[in-house]
Subunit: 235 residues, 2 copies
């Protein structure tokens, strides 16, 4: 099933970019979710920076290409899904070859999305990959967490981001679902993440997909000088 | 520095268990924090069960010794701190030998705690270890998380628990500080956990130790049938 809603009828509809009448079926976009590798770090870095701009938190974002490469893809990296893992969302005007990444336990997710209008991606050049017609559109970063009550691992989603011109087309759902599918496949118990309490659209979307919003829990964070100070309590 | 406050004066104080006057210095308890191993699973299981009782959530607790052993200490376990990690809090009436666990990057934490009154541990036999005078008093379970903005790992504390008769003596602080110290030692950026919003004493304690309570964030959880259903969205 495509995540984007199919057209309501098979009749042709006008395009908004001044072309002649074009049937809906010509506004298709092909998407692939695959595991990121160290060669994707420049794109991941740009996506993280865009996310910080969107959240008006650029002053808190100190990630560099080098620090991301070192921490996400260290030498002798553990296998995917056992530590920090990045799924990259790529899109193309042409179908993807159903290649495997030779990763045990994961097959890239291919989806065709039908659009009312073609997407005008003004940053296509910046996010182009080595496959000439493939562009990076978003990412999700997640890692294992653990429930003692279930005695089972799960996944925690730290970030999910879709570039602006690709939003509201079902790509966020495709990314989230890929993480949920991987959790289910591995017999994991939960997928968790956090949301800002004023982000009512996101909360509505999460509730509709069956997630529970845990109203009673507050996140506590110890960082910076306070972390260093508390770290020395036992000395 | 001892986590438990030193006595206000060196003068003797009465004991509450019917003994004669005993100087404070005789009510000492020795504590050790060490990495748990698979042989500790029966104790860890009992601690988790007590935690579920305390939280009135025994109906949600399906952990067994077997499922804990499989998921916390799988064959070819990754090195400590790279995945799910358990620190065990042990106490003894006698000083611990400063043995090493032969674990790179970690030395067990030894602390002497001065008490106003001796502790009456009615479950001593259940929580006794192979060292005859050593008793398990609590645990903390944590694992790496990741901040994309910092491009740094951190630690997420899933559970911290101290058995009832050992509470309000600074042991929770010793456990939390051991995790913070390990994070600082490894150059990690943050330690995070969650707290119930009605647990005002805990929130006050966390704020006093320098933690920030993130008021705006809500935890979202996808589990059970909803997880299975959403996992199949891309199929």
């Amino acid at each position: 099933m495509a995540a984007a809603a199919p057209p309501p009828s098979p009749s042709p509809a006008p395009s908004a970019i001044g072309e002649d009448l074009i049937p809906f079926s010509q506004h298709q976009i092909f998407s692939r979710i695959r595991l990121a590798t160290i060669t994707d770090v420049p794109h991941i870095h740009k996506l993280i920076h865009q996310m910080a701009v969107f959240e008006k938190l650029t002053h808190l974002c100190s990630a560099t290409e080098s620090s991301l490469a070192t921490t996400l893809f260290p030498p002798n990296s553990p296998p995917p899904f056992t530590s920090f893992t990045v799924f990259l969302l790529e899109v193309s005007k042409n179908p993807f070859n159903p290649i495997s990444q030779n990763t045990p336990n994961f097959t890239p997710v291919l989806k065709t999305v039908n659009l009312d209008l073609p997407i005008n991606d003004t940053e296509e050049e910046v996010f182009r990959t080595i496959d000439d017609d493939v562009v990076v559109a978003g990412f999700v970063l997640f890692f294992p967490n653990y429930s003692t009550f279930l005695a089972k691992p799960g996944f925690y989603i730290e970030d999910i981001f879709v570039r602006e011109c690709y939003r509201r087309k079902g790509f966020g759902k495709i990314l989230l679902s890929a993480v949920a599918a991987q959790a289910a496949k591995m017999g994991y118990g939960r997928v968790e993440w956090v949301v800002l309490d004023w982000n009512v659209n996101a909360i509505k979307f999460y509730e509709e997909m069956g997630a529970e919003i845990m109203q009673e829990w507050k996140v506590c964070r110890l960082t910076g000088d306070a972390l260093q100070a508390f770290a020395s309590v036992n000395i």
